[in-house]
Symmetry: C2
Amino acid sequence: MTRNQRGKLLIFALGGLDEIGKNMYVVQYGNDIVVIDSGLMFPEEEMLGIDIVIPDITYLIENQDKVRGIILTHGHEDHIGGLPYILKQIKVPIYATKLTMGLIEHKLKEAHLLNDVRRFVINNQSEISLGSLKATFFYTNHSIPDSVGVCIHTPEGAVVHTGDFKFDMTPVNGQLADMHKMAEIGKKGVLCLLSDSTNAERPGFTGSERTVGEGIKEVFRKAKQRVIVATFASNIHRIQQVVDACYIYGRKLAVVGRSMVNVVNIASELGYLHIPKDIIIEPDDINRLPAHKVAVISTGSQGESMSALNRMANASHRKVEILPGDTVIIAATPIPGNEKMIGRIVDQLFRIGADVVYSTTSHVHVSGHGSQEDLKLMLNLMKPKYFIPIHGEYRMLRAHAQLAESVGVRPENIFICDNGDTVEISGGKARYGPKIPTGKVLIDGLGVGDVGNIVLRDRKLLSQDGILVVVVTLSKTNGTILSGPDIISRGFVYVRESEQLLEDATQVVNQTMERCMKDQVSEWASLKTSIRDSLSKFLYERTRRRPMILPIIMEV
Amino acid sequence: MTRNQRGKLLIFALGGLDEIGKNMYVVQYGNDIVVIDSGLMFPEEEMLGIDIVIPDITYLIENQDKVRGIILTHGHEDHIGGLPYILKQIKVPIYATKLTMGLIEHKLKEAHLLNDVRRFVINNQSEISLGSLKATFFYTNHSIPDSVGVCIHTPEGAVVHTGDFKFDMTPVNGQLADMHKMAEIGKKGVLCLLSDSTNAERPGFTGSERTVGEGIKEVFRKAKQRVIVATFASNIHRIQQVVDACYIYGRKLAVVGRSMVNVVNIASELGYLHIPKDIIIEPDDINRLPAHKVAVISTGSQGESMSALNRMANASHRKVEILPGDTVIIAATPIPGNEKMIGRIVDQLFRIGADVVYSTTSHVHVSGHGSQEDLKLMLNLMKPKYFIPIHGEYRMLRAHAQLAESVGVRPENIFICDNGDTVEISGGKARYGPKIPTGKVLIDGLGVGDVGNIVLRDRKLLSQDGILVVVVTLSKTNGTILSGPDIISRGFVYVRESEQLLEDATQVVNQTMERCMKDQVSEWASLKTSIRDSLSKFLYERTRRRPMILPIIMEV
């Protein structure tokens, strides 16, 4: 270890900055690297056909011998969802609280990785050594239990990463955030704070999860027939409140949707969900009970077309159908981009004759992320010298930076970074360091990294105006046409209604080929280009469309 | 005319129910048909490559001799945008207020239809005869001036169509809605009211447009450098308020964006926009003036990638570039589905160093549609016997129906219809009548109706996993392979990184063909099916993807 390496602290993100998702932050001191979170991101609209996106971890692979561990702050997909892919590439121990670890183990089991990974369960009393670094933890409030913030104690000073958080003064499970511990950390001195910016544009405090429970109980009280609640599977506090409402109003509860069943099982086993005896029934038993004695909790609160809620609403669920007079609570707000899908399912439910309680017209959701006043409270507890806003798109990071300034962090001590930007702290002084290569790794099916810009550009082109394949067989001996040109199209026009157009197009190809032969064009590449150009021009003039054109020349 | 036809009133929609857009309502009495509005709709996400959607007007074409006229309530695309397509199919006079007609004429000119269409300008004093029907008009408040509601006087009674509306008690142009006239119509008796449901889920009154002007002035007052305002081109009241702010704070105004220039020209010419002398400058002159003396009004408030705002933010606009220190006001709220695009442009503007004033953090927009209290006021003024909520998705129509009930319309007199559902009123009694065929006509480029479900399904498939074309040339004489099989893929995988996969795939095709030949399969169709099936299975196993597979057999 060189002197220089020993004395330098590097902080950077491989994911999570200027975006929502694939969170992955790195704290490095000399030869010791600690990673915080390994999330995935759901694809942007233009990433056609992509299933998920994870961070590019080339840096960690190249420095594998230095990576001491991955700490997971909580069990959401944007914090743990990348683990199965990442742990296939690097061998490193992981640290998480009990519930978070339960959810991770389920994932690792599915990926056949469970036995290959060293796992350590931590709590807010744990102190773990990671080379020259030490990590301690404090509980936070978030929309999933057992969420923690992390304090990495480095020779340069303490680096605090809040994870996702809000301050809930009346938490459902009675467990307040570790404010006293945060105060203590702040008192001892925080060199650098990394804090959640998701709601940095939103004024005020974020409401307590308990207020949602009150709303749910009110609906249960009035409902005449069955009550179906759709919410995020991971929101165990909310599930608990639905269980409680069932208990109070004497209803049995059926759990539907794969991820809902999964989370309810794990959370109950580990003691994070308390379900009174005899409340849970199997979906098969729903119809054996009177409608006013039944409730259902389900996935599908974002209107996802394959979700249990959507299938129940469209009478395509194997076990449960929503009927006139049932009450459906969609206990979520739309994630940006999902507004239309949710609108459609609400419409469909009303059409069936169900009563629908949803976010546009009722209070059935609060965020798990702190608003401006929560964020200022965190900043004031921690009193950091340096501040890096994390978890958010650029405008959110910027809004968070302004909040930090408003509570007294010096503007020159605030670093708004992009993924790969490093903040280098040495001798108590921070500055931007060298850039770390990073990026998006797209996963489509089993493929990791085999889909990139060219493939996506082609998918985009194909999606707009379809494709025309032009095939022709030429003689090897004299270059005359033996068969074709044949034009086959997909996604371009109704072939039956456009016979003339396609005939004319064939004519254009014929003329082009004749001209090429007269000009003695023998290079296939130039022949193909000529066909593509003339056909493209012809089709644009006739239809104002630009389908992909794929000329194929066979030689026999 | 049969007795039956004479005595029957039919009311129905060809577009605008259970959707936002392509508004087109029909009132028919005997042999007289009046059409209200001819809108377009922007395509849903799954309508890949489609430019716009218009109503199917088969019914109007089949009854062309009965159509007495089309009345346009105001100049928005979802009310007039379908006209050029519809007037190509039926010859019928159109009726609109001065500004609406100005915008329509611009469209008809572009479509080379201006001289073919009889056009009549109306105002709130007009009475027009349409066969046995008569139409009168009342002004409303909306986000474009010169908006009207229509009263169709029929032998059965008065049918009132509100158009889009809200009640603005302090309108920017001082012109209140014709409340006295509405009251008079209501007093005389309304048989059936059709009223705008867009904001029927929203409690309270919609705010006055004037409040947005106050917000804009406040930003102008504080801005140190240039101010760029992006808003909807058609919102002339808002443009007026930007002009006023320029006047007050001594700034010149440049107009950028094709539709903004167009609307500003038409509205100024017709007297709907009052621009003091010497305020307007050409975009070329912006850089000749000090930054604090300049403002720009622009399109792009929905983050559209090709809009002026986006180009200015990305330094790809020919004349204007947004610079550090400039202030940008995005005076709009996201239309559902556009949240992410707007987020991206806000991020980009902040990154440049501009100050951005936008709907998440500031009051810079009010809706043009009435909220629940506006809607109740309209219902109470009109006191209709029958009520049909229009302009909205199902949940909005339903919410509006509940409002109608709450102010005393009898539940059995409220008709929540879908496009094509008819309400038949005869002898003062209303009931559902026969269904009229209707639907969506998709327009892609110059094509009208040549893209439908099969083409869209193919585009969807292509967009997800791309395409593999398998070509093989067979001998006509003995069926042996002369050339190929060749596999060409687009939008599937990076070919360079997947050479082995594609080689293996070729092997699979070879084996399949050998098997088919051994089994003496000579039908091309079955050969193609075998290739498709075996290749599809192979690719799914190896990649978990399902590209479209297109086998092509050439014979020489």
